[in-house]
């Protein structure tokens, strides 16, 4: 039997506000436990939440970024359950009237095509604290620094059919939220966390199979592996005559498998009801329009512009628009050298390779966009040849000079285009290579084409790489043919 998977995702994005969603405490990551939790975050008797406007603005920006409906009114509800790191015994969330309505995210597939994944809604909520199970001698420590951090939960429709599509979707979300600057997108610090819903059904069947939810998968790679494992598990289960039960599962990256956490029967009844401490959020049209106008160019638009206006290939356009720092870097290089294709080649070639080798992010590149742009200028105006350019790039990388020009000057890499000087070098090489010259003279045209490489190499070597290779080639041919 042929099976197909149906995948939907709930992605929790931590919003990059300075303070928490309902209190003035800082949201900075990595502080000493419980030093960034105020009376409101601790849920002390008598405290009340006050909504952080910045979180609202960020949520709306996201909604606008995915062309979603922005409802005029959204309402906070309480989701009631007991857990030690949930200080109030309820999480303030939006169950029935979310801040962002239905929208769409375009994802890029491996075959170069794109697909639209529908977003059901996105809602604001507060994060819980953390339970620390180590170092407490059999007890559990509670760190409430994270309690009250604003989260935007983005709920997709079950529009994805494979682990790869799911990863492409998360990458697209990651790219949108970082472009918008509404999240740092740092997966390692938990700034994006995914719950994955997976079901399988016979290919062609309309009705959905029973789904399992995999909680808290926190990297692109784990999302892919967890889904792949879960699809396999469900298919095997059904083929062996079993039935998938609706349940919550946990992905264990070490064992690379998912395990049952709780079944539907054990599921909590969260007793949602509107939070009486918070007023409904009413967004007027002018506010939404103001945010719309201040929206930056988003990845999909950028990709299209790179392709259509800058003439880049679909592949280049997609890579260079994938993250905001990458796109910003590329555009800065392009602006300073005025050659989009060369800029694209350099950013994706030499720079990407070197960053990769040293495991650096583009924002940490030792070579700035202006430096790289300056270098490319010297390549396109033929001040240096391609070989010297790589030397200059490495010198910039190693901090041997502030600009390409400085390094070219210091290292004497300026391309030699003076015909006289080149001819002199050629004459010397011919004089030093009587055997090769003799062979050349006797060879036919086809052989000569191959043999000339030897002489070019000798001349370039003599010029320490600075001679213009095209000129060397042409002059050599002339002289040898006369020999």
């Amino acid at each position: 039997m042929q099976w197909e998977a149906v995948i939907g995702l709930e992605v929790h994005v931590q919003l990059a506000t300075q303070s928490k969603i309902f209190s003035g405490a800082s949201t900075a990551f990595g502080a000493e436990p419980n030093t960034q939790a105020c009376a409101v975050d601790l849920g002390l008797p008598g405290v009340l939440p006050v909504l952080n406007e910045a979180a609202v603005a960020m949520a709306v920006q996201f909604g606008l970024g995915i062309n979603a409906e922005i409802p005029e009114t959204s309402i906070f509800d309480r989701k009631n359950y007991f857990y030690p790191d949930l200080p109030k015994g309820y999480q303030t969330s939006q169950m029935y009237h979310p801040i962002v309505g239905p929208g769409e995210v375009e994802i890029a597939l491996d075959d170069g095509t794109t697909k639209r994944v529908r977003v059901h809604h996105a809602h604001l909520e507060e994060d819980a604290g953390k339970s620390l199970h180590e170092d407490f001698h059999g007890m559990t420590g509670i760190d409430l620094n994270r309690a009250g951090t604003p989260l935007l939960e983005i709920v997709s429709e079950p529009d994805m059919g494979s682990a790869k599509e799911a990863v492409a979707y998360i990458k697209a979300l990651h790219s949108i939220v970082t472009y918008l600057g509404i999240s740092d997108g740092n997966m390692a610090e938990g700034s994006m966390r995914c719950d994955v819903n997976v079901s399988v059904r016979p290919k062609g069947q309309e009705t959905l199979g029973t789904r399992a939810e995999i909680k808290n998968v926190n990297s692109f790679r784990f999302v892919e592996k967890a889904i792949a494992y879960e699809i396999e598990r469900q298919i095997e289960l059904i083929e062996d005559g079993g039935k998938v039960v609706q349940e919550t599962r946990l992905y264990d990256p070490e064992a690379d498998e998912t395990r049952s956490m709780r079944t539907k029967e054990e599921a909590n009844d969260y007793r949602y009801f509107p939070c009486p401490d918070l007023l409904p959020v009413v967004l007027d049209q002018a506010y939404v329009e103001h945010l719309r106008e201040s929206l930056p160019e988003l990845p999909a638009e950028k990709r299209a512009r790179f392709e259509n206006e800058l003439g880049l290939s679909a592949y280049d356009a997609s890579i260079l628009s994938s993250t905001r720092p990458m796109a910003e870097y590329f555009e800065a290089v392009k602006d300073s050298c005025n050659d989009a294709k060369l800029a694209a080649n350099w950013v994706q070639g030499e720079l990407a390779g070197q960053l990769n080798r040293e495991n650096l992010d583009i924002v940490d590149s030792p070579v700035s966009a202006a430096q790289l742009g300056g270098l490319i200028c010297r390549v396109s105006d033929e001040t240096i040849n391609g070989k010297a350019a790589k030397q200059v790039f490495m010198a910039l990388w190693n901090g041997e000079g502030a600009t390409a020009d400085e390094i070219i000057e210091a290292k004497g890499l300026k391309q030699v285009t003076d015909t006289g000087a080149i001819e002199a070098m050629i004459d010397q090489v011919i004089a030093d290579s009587p055997v090769q010259v003799a062979q050349y003279v006797e060879a036919d045209e086809a052989k000569r084409g191959k043999m000339i490489g030897y002489f070019v190499g000798q001349v370039m070597k003599a010029s320490r790489g600075t001679a213009n290779p095209q000129q060397v080639n042409a002059l050599l041919k002339q002289k040898l043919d006369q020999a």
């Binding site: 601790l42 008797p45 008598g46 009340l48 009631n80 007793r271 009801f273």
Partner: protein
């Protein structure tokens, strides 16, 4: 000094008849001598009060005294007070010392008032008799065998007994007005949103409202002006100017249109209470007010709707008392569930548990629409009843409670206790202000006249109440309890 109103005490302090320290010492002495029997205080903060009194006297000597400087009062033990236990009448918070002050506490302190301590109350403000306190019941100073009402019973009894000239209470379904009525004092529940709830331990967030309890409407006006106003820390507080509530106290009531809701004079109303209330209304007639009967047709739905909404909110609000961060924690918990179960089972009293259970049930899957949603619909109807009535009349009047104070231990089953609040609960559901003023006695037990107005009509309510107090002296009567030979 103990029988004076706040306004009179303010004048005496200003005139130098006595100092704030003398006044404070005198009242602390009365608390010391009398409160053992009354049990109106949970915590007396004598040391802090005396140093605050000295500071007030020093401020006055420098010419820095405001209208409230140096005036003693008490706070219901539901308001968070920095460095002072805030128990909410519960074993759960018996050891809880708040690290911060409630907004109203800050405002009263900034105005120079002196808190003598924290008054007794029904646990988490759930009750109508003050018998649900972990610290034991409060007695009614007019009759020590009677309850003082609840949940702000300690505040009402302390004011009535002359232990403090005024106190702050809170009112979720009648918890200021009913004890004010039972104890023969004046108590105002402001419009929902008029006074910040920040730092007030939550019972039912959409209904809770703090307000003054004092010996006169004039004193309530003075206090309300101090505690009212928008608070950036409470999103449900309303950004609306705060007038000087004393400005309109003397306005004439000639032409005032008073509505008597017929539902507030029906079955279950004690005939002697009715007589006292109708006599009070005659006083208004004599001042030139016109009286007409009105109807609030959904009145009989108020108690059922309240006992869905309030417990629902309470069940969520009280989830934070889990033994993890503060409050009561059971000994040697075996595991997390055991910690939750025993901490809560030991820390909460019976009525609190009952309401948590009711609220948990009404919010549960499968019951939410039938209970919570329906109750919210009813709530809108009740609010509309009042809005309709205020199209025709300026204020509504009726009894604050169907009976005078009942005997301690008299109401054993919860529902008969809930029915006590039949005339007060709808007001919280509608969010409008209400005031109870002393209007006579049944035997030795006081009767309260309740006056209701539209949203934010506190100024008018205080005017109407004050004019009654200019024409009568019920509010000046004092119980035999606490009368001492000077």
């Amino acid at each position: 000094m103990h029988d004076k109103t706040l306004t009179e005490l303010a004048a005496a302090l200003a005139a130098g008849e006595f100092s704030s320290r003398e006044l404070t010492e005198s009242l602390l002495g009365r608390i010391e001598r009398l409160d053992g029997e009354l049990n109106s205080f949970i915590t007396v903060t004598a040391d802090q009060a005396l140093s605050a009194a000295d500071a007030a006297d020093a401020a006055r000597a420098k010419g820095d005294a405001g209208p409230l400087t140096g005036l003693p009062l008490a706070l219901k033990d539901i308001f968070c007070t920095q460095g002072v236990r805030t128990s909410c009448g519960s074993k759960m918070l018996d050891t809880f010392v708040s690290p911060y002050d409630a907004t109203v506490v800050e405002k009263l302190a900034a105005a120079g008032t002196i808190s003598l301590g924290k008054t007794n109350m029904d646990e988490f403000a759930m009750g109508s008799s003050n018998e649900n306190s972990f610290y034991g019941p409060v007695k009614n100073p007019w009759d020590l065998s009677a309850v003082p009402g609840g949940s702000s019973g300690g505040s009402a009894a302390a004011v009535a007994a002359g232990l403090v000239p005024a106190a702050l209470g809170t009112d979720t379904g009648g918890s200021i007005r009913q004890p004010a009525a039972f104890c023969g004092i004046t108590g105002l529940k402001p419009t929902y949103g008029r006074v910040s709830r920040y730092g007030m331990v939550a019972y039912a967030s959409s209904l809770d409202q703090a307000g003054p309890m004092a010996r006169s409407a004039e004193d309530c006006a003075l206090l309300l002006g101090t505690i009212a106003g928008h608070d950036l820390r409470d999103s449900t507080s309303v950004a609306r100017g705060v007038p000087d509530y004393r400005d309109e106290l003397e306005a004439s009531l000639s032409g005032l249109k008073i509505g008597l809701p017929k539902e507030y004079f029906g079955d279950g109303l004690d005939p002697e209470v009715e007589t006292a209330v109708r006599d009070a209304i005659k006083v208004y007639e004599s001042m030139g007010a016109s009286i007409r009967e009105v109807s609030l047709p959904h009145t009989d739905l108020a108690i059922p709707a309240y006992y869905v909404i309030a417990p629902a909110e309470a069940s969520s609000n009280l989830s934070r008392y889990d033994g993890v961060r503060f409050g009561h924690r059971c000994e040697n918990p075996a595991d997390l569930i055991d910690l939750y179960k025993r901490s809560r089972a030991e820390g909460f009293g019976e009525e609190v548990k009952r309401r948590i259970l009711i609220g948990t049930h009404t919010l549960s899957e499968g019951f939410f629409d039938a209970y919570y949603k329906k109750a919210q619909q009813v709530r809108r109807l009740i609010r509309q009843d009042f809005l309709d009535a205020f199209e025709d009349v300026d204020v509504l009047m009726g009894p604050a409670s169907p009976t005078p104070a009942f005997d301690l231990g008299a109401k054993k089953d919860p529902v008969s206790m809930y029915l006590q609040d039949i005339y007060t609960i709808a007001i919280n559901l509608a969010g409008i202000p209400g005031i109870s003023v002393p209007a006579g006695f049944v035997g030795n037990r006081p009767v309260g006249l309740q006056i209701l107005g539209p949203h934010f009509a506190e100024q008018q309510l205080l005017n109407v109440a004050h004019q009654f107090q200019q024409a009568t002296d019920w509010h000046r009567r004092q119980p035999a309890f606490g009368k001492e030979n000077a």
